[in-house]
């Protein structure tokens, strides 16, 4: 029985995504010039409602950004961190520290390894505490490419993360931006193994003030397309063609 206060009913984005408990691996593909960040911020809202715990690897946006957007969507990320329901892993701090200092030969390999070990540690800690779902969110896996980490190593990193889902309470959300050729390889490999595939693209005809972009949700053979429009305080979704009716009602 789903209550009316469930954001999956009341929130337009979450009701179009329809994420269920059996969706282990959620993959969000962000095509060039689109912004899929709203999906993660909305998913967080659902995760907090379900009292899940989150391990969050932030590579693209900062904690401040998520805190500000979270406030608008009705959850407090920093409070959740203080209550040990959310653990942020921010590799950017280490990257800033390493600027200017000399690096060892296998710096990149070490970085991925230590990142995974810290993720694993946090998740094992979460597992030992309560019997509640745990989500691992990776906001933007494709940034590893910018750090000139080899493709094969990134794929094996994904493989390790995905293997964590053998634990019944464990779920993975991966976001990837797709622009260049290596991005496509990463996206295709994650798409191959995911349970829910969400694709966010900009409109083919260019920018519009009425519609921000196109969101496609694919689950098995079932595919749904939505147009969405981002407002300051939320995102509206609607089926293509319903746009005018929805925006001005």
């Amino acid at each position: 029985m789903i209550s009316l206060s469930d954001p999956r009913i009341s929130n337009p984005v979450l009701s179009s995504l329809k994420i269920k408990n059996e969706d282990k691996i959620i993959f969000i593909k962000e095509n060039a010039f689109a912004d899929s960040n709203f999906i993660i911020t909305h998913l967080l809202k659902q995760f907090f409602y379900e009292k899940s715990r989150v391990c969050f690897l932030t590579l693209h946006n900062t904690l401040d950004h998520y805190q500000n957007v979270g406030k608008k969507l009705g959850y407090d990320l920093k409070q959740a961190i203080n209550r040990n329901n959310v653990k942020i892993i921010d590799p950017l701090v280490k990257i800033i520290e390493s600027i200017g200092s000399e690096v060892e030969d296998n710096f990149q390999t070490h970085m991925l390894k230590s990142l995974f070990l810290s993720i694993k540690e946090e998740i094992e800690l979460f597992c030992s505490l309560k019997d509640q779902p745990i989500y691992l969110i990776i906001d933007d896996i494709s940034h590893f490419l910018d750090l000139s980490i080899e493709l094969s190593q990134i794929i094996s990193f994904i493989n390790y993360c995905v293997n964590l889902t053998s634990n019944a309470n464990m779920f993975v959300v991966i976001n990837a931006h797709v622009g260049s050729k290596p991005d496509h390889i990463i996206a295709k490999s994650v798409q191959h193994i995911c349970d829910v595939f969400v694709e966010v693209s900009q409109l083919k005809t260019g920018k519009s003030t009425d519609v921000t972009g196109l969101m496609t949700v694919q689950r098995g053979d079932n595919m749904d397309s939505f147009h969405y429009r981002a407002f300051d305080r939320g995102v509206k979704t609607f089926h293509p063609g319903e746009t005018i009716h929805n925006l001005y009602k």
């Binding site: 060039a32 010039f33 912004d35 960040n37 709203f38 911020t41 946006n61 900062t62 401040d64 950004h65 500000n68 957007v69 608008k72 969507l73 950017l92 701090v93 990257i95 800033i96 390493s98 600027i99 200017g100 000399e102 690096v103 060892e104 030969d105 710096f107 990149q108 494709s142 940034h143 490419l145 910018d146 750090l147 000139s148 931006h177 622009g179 260049s180 050729k181 991005d183 260019g206 920018k207 519009s208 003030t209 921000t212 981002a230 407002f231 300051d232 305080r233 939320g234 995102v235």
Partner: protein
């Protein structure tokens, strides 16, 4: 970027929409397009026009605004001597050098009778919700030497690069990053530092990734891997700038790269724009575009601290460089009727018989 603390920094304003700390780009019309100015802690990428003239003008405005508001400034270039860029900065003046005046006769004789509603729409960009914080500059005059001496400027020209093992193939990139980091540390501009007197570091990088940025020992062969360096540089710079009171503007000669290879750089930057000048293209001769110097495309305006980007949507912008001022305007094409008359006038009478047209020699 907390609200209460940052009010004291000169030359900044807090956006009413999302609580961002903004600095002016120095160009009033560009500030309007960006929704007030550059947010502090962001990286802006400008894809240069073919000859890099207009992108340099934008960079100069950005630096000049930094000097007149007493911000710290870092200028980096391998193509030209950065000190020369600073010497050519436009001078601050009291008021708008070339204000938009409605042309004579528009009031009486030119009054529209049918499409009268369009009369109130001006082609210049104005947004009453955006308060202008920048100064006015005169491009025909350069900044005085005493102003330069009194300012805090760091020049980086890539001449003294220390060797060592870095994650970049090209040592210039890691050296520049290190200089930026040292400068931020020295001025105590990291967000966690919290010094008494706060200021902003403006980072301007001219022609990043141009052929001059190639490593010395491996020449053209490493072009592929050097473009990876470029992605990594912008990603690291963004991480650095986010953690400090700093704002960076980079110009990149994008025509030297493949179409897709800059896509990752755009993804790693927060704002990206492209300048396409008419010079050397067929658009140069176009009657309706003769008032302008090129197209201005805002390719990305990231939504930071909010869900919705403030991108103006499907608007088309054009830019022009006047004698004293650089402006960005909305593109308005004149009605098609005007051009029809032109083409008729130009028609050359030709000899011959037959054809439907009545010939000039016929009687």
């Amino acid at each position: 970027m907390e609200k209460g603390k940052s009010e004291s920094i000169p030359g900044t304003i807090i956006s009413t929409q999302n609580g961002h700390l903004l600095v002016s780009s120095g160009i009033a019309s560009l500030d309007v397009v960006l929704g007030g100015g550059f947010p502090v802690g962001t990286v802006t990428l400008i894809e240069e026009d073919f000859r890099g003239i207009y992108s340099k003008v934008i960079l100069k405005y950005f630096l000049a605004e930094g000097l007149s508001t007493k911000h710290s400034v870092l200028i980096a270039s391998q193509d030209v001597n950065p000190a020369n860029i600073i010497k050519e900065l436009p001078a601050v003046i009291e008021s708008d050098p070339e204000p938009e005046v409605p042309s004579k006769g528009q009031d009486d004789s030119n009054q529209m009778k049918i499409a009268f509603r369009y009369q109130n729409i001006s082609s210049t960009l104005k947004d009453p919700s955006v308060k202008h914080i920048g100064h006015h500059y005169d491009l025909s005059k350069s900044i005085s030497l005493s102003d330069i001496e009194n300012s805090d400027i760091l020049y980086w020209n890539g001449q003294t690069i220390q060797s060592g093992v870095h994650s970049f193939i090209n040592p210039a990139y890691s050296d520049l990053l290190k200089s930026i980091k040292d400068k931020i540390k020295e001025e105590k501009l990291f967000l966690k530092d919290n010094p008494e007197k706060k200021t902003i570091l403006r980072i301007a990088i001219h022609s990043l990734g141009s052929p001059m940025w190639l490593p010395h020992r491996k020449s053209i062969h490493s072009m592929d891997s050097s473009s990876q360096d470029l992605n990594m540089f912008i990603f690291c710079l963004r991480a650095l700038v986010r953690s400090a009171h700093a704002v960076a503007v980079i110009t990149v000669p994008s025509y030297l790269y493949d179409e897709d290879s800059l896509e990752r750089c755009i993804h790693s930057s927060d704002i990206s724009m492209r300048l396409q000048s008419f010079t050397g293209t067929e658009l140069e001769m176009n009657q309706s575009l003769q008032d302008y110097h090129g197209f201005f495309y805002l390719t990305k305006l990231a939504a930071i601290n909010s869900l919705a980007s403030r991108h103006p949507g499907s608007m088309e912008h054009v830019f022009k460089l006047r004698r004293k001022k650089f402006v960005i305007e909305l593109l308005h094409l004149p009605p098609d009727i005007g051009e029809d008359n032109e083409t008729k006038k130009d028609k050359v009478p030709s000899l011959g018989c037959g054809g439907n047209n009545k010939h000039l020699l016929e009687f």
